[in-house]
């Protein structure tokens, strides 16, 4: 780790103690620790921003969006490991929006280095950029960054609190802190006397935190072992509270009907019929649609549908041919990025065999199980909001704006999320709740979107196209030259979050292509940005969700042209680039018993992607079942460097793959007359219990950097499946979803 990184972390560690002297790169101000946002009640002490001790025990703060990825459990385990408390004995809260909870890893993920080959300078820069997250208010859960963000900070938070509590005990007992130990939420004196943390908290809060050493992994009790999830009991009994489950005294229920021509206005609306319908309290007009407030959600939805509305046009071409033409046009313009340009990609090496291919992938909806919703209570000079969101500080800001209040007047409760996948990093559903609440003073209102409204007002994974040219010689790839065209998610999302659209190369657009650990002498990836105003957003694994399909499908085509086994071919190029990439490919080959040969009626394909710091290799086996394709088996190997919770990682790898397979098989959002044509699950379905493969997962720990868990297994799913189908049928799939070209068992 760089010295600057150490100092920055130490600054966080020492809390209110000043560290003398400035540091290079003008990061002095970055090194100021944000104020502790917790104001504990009487008799409680907040030992730092993540640990609260009061008479009832220990409360840990996990300021991360729990949308299913298990972040609350592993985050709490990081603190509890050093604090010496049991997960079953602590209370876990999400905490308020606060700068202290900035994501130190998200900015680093945005840097244009490849990751796997990052020099120490790039890593150092990543850490400094990470500190900048404080200024950009990036309290964001995304980019599979939670564990890299919290891995050291949270153990330090736990250790610091522990040593401070020990110091308080040492002063009380008149002994040295070194003579004390801790166990199960108590300080243990040399004579065996146990003092609960709660008895020491008030004294500890007055003590400057001492320097701490983190325990080596060999001494871990919790980390590295599968922990029971802290949210499991609630989720198995229907008692876990999602935003849609928030209930307040005398609350009303509302729904929205917003222009389906996305971004268009409402020209006129006749809401007289809606206003007369049973249970309706109020119809509210916005510039782009209406909200109906009623006695219950269903009555509100019926009334909203009864309104006669004339909609203005959307700012993008109304039909798919016009939308896709913007991608073709983007190829003709100068590239936005050339983040990889090794050797000479313009020249076909003499004697090499040329391979070319064009690919495309569609728009996708996030389609979380819990439809978008939020609840708000406006009382004239204050606003309280309950929302399952991935970006609390931004959410609070837009709610304040919508209510005409200062941010200080807004209290935001971040609830559990019934799926996120990137959709709940958007601010729209919280803002609409604030807008409705403002029209209903002193009445708590829950604003729930119908499934149709949710599916047709998403921020979609963009449709993109790719053009690849490559060459093979003597069994190896000697040229890969890829161009990818699509609209920029980064520019749109940063505009919504920060009110600014950064220029410069958009890494996310080419992620999963330019940064793949394949040693190829002439290797170029260019990104072309399309001018298209369809609302787009971060969708689980973002750019890698389509780019892995492009690059890894192309690797398969190159292997065929080179006359090599597709797994061996990838290994031959990965070994020299990044050993953990080769390790996961080798492992998945062993797990699946890969021979390169398959029986009649069986097809196997390999897929690989390095994304969010984690290399993931996958083998998928398909079977011909009376002319339909069954996705029968899958093997996944992933290298996260340090596996903090193996059981949860197994769940994330399996679930991420299924999310990717669902999209690859049947996911597609299309537009006609400016409106999304898919309305509900029958039009936009996913794999079900009888169509998912039997899956085995191996987690490796050879990666020198800790990788992310929530997203990296999604990208290799599509190419692994398409490559397996090629093995089965001899037909190459270059366009998703696959059910337009092949018949699947349903």
């Amino acid at each position: 780790m760089s010295r600057i990184g150490k100092i920055a972390r130490r600054t966080f560690l020492v809390g209110s103690l000043a560290v003398a002297g400035g540091v290079a790169f003008g990061i002095y101000k970055l090194r100021e620790t944000p104020p502790n946002p917790l104001s504990p009640g009487e008799g409680a002490a907040a030992l730092n921003s993540f640990v609260i001790v009061d008479g009832d025990g220990v409360t840990l703060v996990a300021p991360k969006a729990e949308m299913g990825q298990g972040v609350h459990t592993t985050w709490a385990a990081l603190i509890a490991e050093e604090l010496d408390v049991e997960l079953a004995d602590v209370t876990l809260i999400h905490g308020p929006p606060a700068k202290a909870y900035f994501n130190s890893s998200l900015m680093a993920e945005g840097l244009p280095n490849k990751g796997y080959d990052a020099s120490s300078f790039a890593h150092m820069l990543g850490e400094v950029m990470g500190q900048a997250g404080k200024f950009l208010n990036l309290q964001v859960t995304g980019g599979s960054t939670s564990m890299t963000d919290g891995y050291e900070r949270m153990r330090v938070a736990g250790a610091t609190a522990r040593e401070t509590l020990k110091e308080a005990a040492a002063q009380r007992l008149g002994v040295s802190r070194a003579d004390l130990t801790t166990e199960a939420g108590q300080v243990i004196a040399p004579d065996g006397t146990a003092i609960p943390y709660a008895e020491l908290a008030m004294a500890a809060a007055e003590i400057d935190p001492p320097h701490v050493e983190l325990r080596p992994p060999s001494r871990w009790r919790l980390l590295g072992k599968t922990q029971p999830r802290v949210d499991m009991l609630g989720k198995a009994t229907g008692t876990a509270e999602f935003a849609i489950d928030v209930r307040r005294e005398s609350m009303k229920f509302a729904t929205l009907r917003i222009n389906p021509k996305l971004g268009g206005t409402m020209i006129s609306a006749d809401t007289s019929a809606a206003e007369g319908m049973p249970g309706v309290e109020k119809v509210i007009r916005f510039e782009n649609g209406i909200a109906v407030v009623a006695r219950n959600t269903w009555l509100a939805i019926q009334a909203a549908e009864a309104a006669e509305i004339e909609w203005g046009a959307a700012p993008y071409p109304p039909e798919m041919d016009g939308i896709l033409a913007t991608l073709d046009a983007a190829f003709q313009a100068e590239p936005n990025s050339t983040l990889r340009d090794d050797g000479d990609a313009d020249t076909l090496p003499a004697g090499a065999t040329e391979v070319t291919a064009e690919y495309d992938t569609p728009f996708l909806a996030h389609s979380t199980m819990e439809p978008m919703n939020a609840t708000a209570l406006f009382t004239g000079d204050a606003l309280e909001v309950w929302s399952g969101n991935q970006a609390p500080i931004f959410t609070r800001r837009v709610c304040a704006e919508a209510a005409g209040l200062d941010e200080d007047a807004v209290t935001l409760h971040t609830t559990l999320m019934g799926g996120g996948f990137g959709r709940r990093g958007e601010l729209d559903f919280s803002r609409y709740a604030a807008m409705v609440a403002r029209e209903m003073p002193d009445v708590p209102v829950q604003v729930t979107w119908s499934r149709e409204e949710d599916m047709r007002h998403d921020f979609y994974r963009p449709a993109t196209k790719a053009r690849f040219r490559g060459a093979v010689q003597d069994g190896k790839a000697v040229l890969i030259d890829g161009a990818i065209a699509g609209p920029s998610i980064t520019q749109q999302a940063m505009g919504r979050w920060l009110g600014l659209s950064p220029g410069g190369p958009d890494k996310g657009h080419v992620d999963g292509a330019f940064n793949q650990p394949y040693a190829v002498p002439n290797f170029r990836i260019r990104g072309h940005l399309a001018d298209l105003d369809v609302p787009i957003g971060f969708w689980r694994s973002v750019g890698a969700s389509h780019n892995a399909f492009y690059l890894d499908s192309f690797m398969d085509e190159l292997a065929l042209a080179a006359g090599r086994d597709p797994l061996d071919f990838r290994l031959a190029h990965a070994r020299d680039a990044f050993a953990p990439a080769a390790a996961v490919l080798e492992r998945v080959g062993e797990m699946s018993g890969w021979t390169g040969q398959t029986a009649e009626g069986i097809g196997r394909g390999v897929g690989f992607c390095y994304a969010f710091g984690t290399p993931v290799a996958m083998v998928i086996e398909v079977a011909d079942e009376d002319g339909a394709i069954r996705i029968a088996k899958a093997w996944i190997a992933a290298d996260l460097g340090t596996a903090l919770d193996p059981g949860n990682l197994e769940a994330q790898m399996t679930g991420g793959m299924i999310y990717g397979l669902s999209a690859a098989v049947m996911g597609e959002i299309t537009f006609s007359d400016g409106e999304v044509q898919q309305r509900n699950f029958p039009d936009y379905d996913a794999l079900r219990i009888h169509t998912v493969p039997e899956t085995a997962v191996a987690i490796l720990e050879t990666n020198p950097h800790m990788g992310g868990a929530g997203e990296p297994s999604t990208p290799p799913a599509a190419p692994a499946l398409a490559n397996a189908i090629f093995d089965l049928t001899g037909t190459r799939a270059r366009s998703l979803p696959l059910n337009k070209q092949f018949t699947f068992v349903i």
């Binding site: 299913g68 989720k235 229907g238 209930r247 079900r688």
Partner: protein
């Protein structure tokens, strides 16, 4: 119009139009929020409850048509007193986001009541109407087998 329902053994009287689906009576009128809204068109199973022991999509049953006693996830077991199916769900750490799991558990409980030792094919048929976007299906299957074994042992 006043209607009385028996839900988890307790009588509830509501004054609502007869066409309001049971789902919304449970969630918005009675405050039993364990039953979830997912699609409103019987395509996801998140709203599954039991009426006289039969698994039904509560988004498709009008208040006037509720033909028997309603059991929701809250009536199956509580954090302090789990049913065998819920115990298996915890043992296998099934849930990720957890939003669909009330419906999954209600569907699984109905399956086990009818077919105490379900085969994988029985599970496929009974559970394919229940969507899970997190992809917890392999653990759902394992938990159903565990619950079946547990229930058989208990006799």
């Amino acid at each position: 119009m006043s209607t009385t329902l028996t839900i988890n053994g307790t009588a509830h009287t509501v004054d609502l139009p007869e066409n309001v689906p049971l789902l919304w009576v449970l969630r918005d009128e009675i405050g039993l929020t364990g039953t979830k809204f997912g699609c409103g068109v019987a395509a996801c199973g998140a709203c599954t409850v039991h009426i006289d022991g039969e698994a039904v999509r509560s988004c498709q049953v009008a208040l006037a048509d509720v033909w028997g006693e309603v059991t929701t996830i809250e009536g199956v077991g509580t954090p302090d007193s789990l049913s065998a199916v819920q115990e298996a769900w915890v043992e296998h750490q099934v849930a990720q986001c957890g939003y669909c799991q009330s419906g999954q558990i209600m569907q699984a409980a109905a399956l086990l009541a009818q077919t105490p030792q379900p085969t994988d094919e029985d599970i496929d048929i009974a559970m394919q109407g229940n969507l899970c976007r997190c992809g917890t299906y392999p653990r759902i299957r394992a938990a159903i087998h565990t619950a079946a074994a547990k229930l058989t042992e208990e006799g």
